[in-house]
């Protein structure tokens, strides 16, 4: 509770510190606008036109439905990898043998290109939700798993010893000694896992489904509708940035505060 209050208290200052980031994004948009002037509207629509298309799209009921579909797939997929990855990773971290054994498997999972997973999933599950969700899981699970594994592997032995010799009660041992350390590894892994999930869900939808934002992107491509395509990209990036920088980053900062 105290933790949540502290995050809320620091939030306005955190938000205000984002002006530099806003400035660099706007500089990037200016660069994009210059690109539009060089290459023309068909290749690269102007930012202003894209944002206008975006606002028209967001007031369209059917587009909202597509976004909801994608959100559903991404959250199921990411939710499952979060639960599975964290619990298995933590568990594997406690046993040297398990972590030794899981390493190469994780390497295989990470090394396999997501596009190959999509092809396999399409053969296994057909065109639909399952294919997308499966691809999301295989892509983000290893990231979360490795983060959790590192968290438990790197626990400081001396700290454990100290907790033991002071005869800490179990809840203190967990919340004050293990948890801050583990969480500071697991949480950033969640953040990058989420980023991965959000990218993969669009790609999988584009190739394997007929609805969702990814499918809309495919339609925009086939109709050479660049403003819509770019507007969809803006939705994706915008939502990811919102989740990552407005929701997760303030938590991450508080979590990692003890390190200094």
């Amino acid at each position: 509770m105290k933790f949540a209050l502290k995050i809320l208290k620091d939030f306005p200052a955190y938000l205000w510190s984002g002006w530099g980031a806003v400035a660099s994004i706007l500089l990037f948009i200016a660069f994009w606008d210059a690109g539009n002037q060089v290459y023309g509207d068909l290749v690269l629509p102007s930012p202003l036109e894209t944002f206008k298309t975006l606002s028209v799209m967001l007031s369209d009921e059917s587009v909202i439905t597509e976004i909801k579909t994608t959100l559903y797939r991404a959250s199921i997929g990411f939710g499952l990898s979060l639960v599975l990855g964290t619990s298995l990773g933590l568990l594997a971290g406690f046993f040297a043998t398990a972590s030794m054994m899981s390493r190469p498997i994780v390497t295989i999972l990470v090394g396999m290109p997501p596009i190959a997973w999509i092809v396999l999933a399409m053969i296994w599950f057909g065109m639909g939700d399952e294919t997308v969700i499966f691809t999301v899981i295989v892509a983000s699970f290893p990231i979360v798993f490795v983060g959790a594994l590192q968290g438990t592997r790197t626990l400081d032995g001396e700290l454990k010893e100290m907790a033991k010799s002071f005869k800490f009660p179990w809840h203190m041992k967990f919340f004050d000694v293990y948890f801050p350390h583990i969480f500071s590894y697991v949480f950033p892994a969640w953040v990058s896992g989420l980023g991965m999930a959000w990218k993969i869900v669009i790609m999988a939808e584009l190739l394997a489904t007929s609805n969702g934002i990814g499918a809309s992107l495919a339609v925009a491509r086939s109709q050479l509708d660049t403003p819509t395509a770019l507007a969809i990209v803006v939705i994706m990036i915008g939502s990811l940035m919102f989740i990552e920088y407005i929701i997760l980053e303030p938590i991450k900062r508080e979590v990692e505060l003890w390190r200094d």
């Binding site: 530099g20 400035a23 660099s24 500089l27 948009i29 102007s46």
Partner: protein, 413 residues
């Protein structure tokens, strides 16, 4: 304790103070004669401009009143402000440098006054004389500040380089007016405004560090304020880009985004006021200083928005948030801070300082928001000019006594 602490502030120059005899208090340090002249000059010149714009008097200014009005508000005031800042700041920043006082200071002030006179009489005395006097003034300031540029550690060199750039822009302006350069002199003045904003940011970074930390020490606030260079540098980069693009491609839509980016980059600097442990945003001087950035930021953002929005056409009105608002406030805040600290006093805020700052802000809003109230255009022009002048009257009332008397703590300077 308080006596001793008082002596600690702004006294690095003390050991190297020249032993010229009979220096009157008003020539005892660089800022003194400048502020004694600048405040009345602001009042007189604003009154003259008001009379000129409303048709009470007529000065042709070589047939281009607007251009020369902008020239004077940018360069005429700049030389005074910069000289005050450098002649007061450099001996503190570079211990061992001999303060610039007494007779030599008097001659430089005469040069500045001659520059002003040559400006107002330009229809009689000609552009060449105005160019010669004003360029020698700025040139002399650069020569005076050469130690900052040649400093091995290059701690404050950026200010020197910016001044050299501003000097080049002023030469360019006169060349254009005399027919030696093709660019429109009005466009060159926009470039000058951009360069001056860069100079203001560089100077304000130093002023902030000195003033805010001193303020906290005075009030017993146990924290350190650090103005981080990367943030200022990002803002300077954005301003430079905006200025160059505006000169080459005015009204280009990319410039609109650059304006918004510049506004955000300047606002980012204010995040420095959030300290690690203590809350200082309730300190009046911190608010004064933050308002400078806020005004500059609003100006650039509104200009950017104007370019992107076809229904609004007021970019030169919005520019006043940068010039009257940001640059004007920067001069006034520096005049107030130096007026307290370098006359051997504590940094104090009172109803007068609040009024001075508040009136400049109000004048800027009246001037800058004219495009939204076209039916009140002439009223807004008049009121904003009046509101802009009052702070300098108040300045004379509060500070002229200090400027004419020796330092309160008995130290030379």
């Amino acid at each position: 304790m308080s006596q001793e602490q008082e002596k600690l502030h702004a006294t690095s120059h003390y050991l190297y103070y020249p032993d010229e005899k009979d220096i009157p208090p008003y020539l005892a340090y660089g800022f003194r004669p400048i502020f004694l002249l600048l405040a009345p000059y602001m009042i007189i010149s604003m009154t003259l401009w008001g009379a000129l714009w409303s048709g009470v008097i007529y000065i042709p200014f070589i047939g281009n009143i607007l251009t020369w009005h902008i020239y004077e508000m940018l360069f005429g005031i700049l030389t005074a402000g910069t000289l005050a800042f450098l002649s007061t700041g450099l001996p503190e920043l570079f211990p061992g440098m001999v303060p610039f006082v007494g007779k030599r200071l008097k001659y430089i002030m005469i040069l500045w006054l001659a520059g002003r006179l040559s400006f107002w009489m330009i229809d009689v005395t000609g552009i060449y004389l105005a160019a010669f006097l004003n360029l020698s003034m700025l040139g002399w300031i650069i020569w005076f500040a050469k130690d900052a540029v040649l400093d091995k550690l290059q701690r404050h060199a950026s200010i020197g380089y910016t001044l050299v750039a501003i000097f080049a822009i002023e030469v360019w302006f006169f060349a254009s007016e005399l027919g030696f350069a093709k660019s429109s002199s009005l466009d060159i003045l926009k470039v000058a405004a951009g360069a001056i904003v860069v100079l203001v940011l560089l100077a304000m970074r130093r002023v902030n560090m000195e003033a805010v930390n001193e303020l906290m020490e005075d009030k017993g606030i146990d924290d350190t304020f650090i103005s981080r260079p990367p943030k200022t540098n990002l803002a300077i980069f954005a301003i430079s880009l905006f200025t160059i693009v505006e000169f080459l491609y005015p009204n280009n839509s990319a410039l609109g985004w650059l304006g918004l980016a510049t506004g955000a980059a300047i606002l980012a600097i204010t995040a420095d006021y959030k300290l690690k442990d203590e809350f200082i945003l309730n300190q009046p001087f911190v608010i004064y200083l933050a308002l400078i950035y806020l005004m500059l930021s609003v100006g650039y953002a509104l200009m950017g928005w104007d370019i992107l929005n076809v229904n609004i056409n007021g970019i030169n009105h919005f520019r006043h948030f940068i010039t009257s608002g940001g640059i004007g406030l920067a001069y006034l805040v520096v005049m107030i801070i130096i007026g307290w600290i370098h006359t051997g006093r504590h940094l104090t805020s009172n109803i007068y300082t609040h009024l001075m700052i508040g009136l400049i802000v109000a004048a800027t809003f009246l001037r800058g928001l004219i495009p939204f109230f076209p039916e009140y255009t002439s009223e807004f022009y008049a009121y904003s000019a009046v509101l802009f002048v009052i702070p300098f009257v108040l300045y004379m009332k509060v500070f002229f006594g200090f400027l004419m008397a020796p330092r309160a703590d008995g130290i030379k300077g």
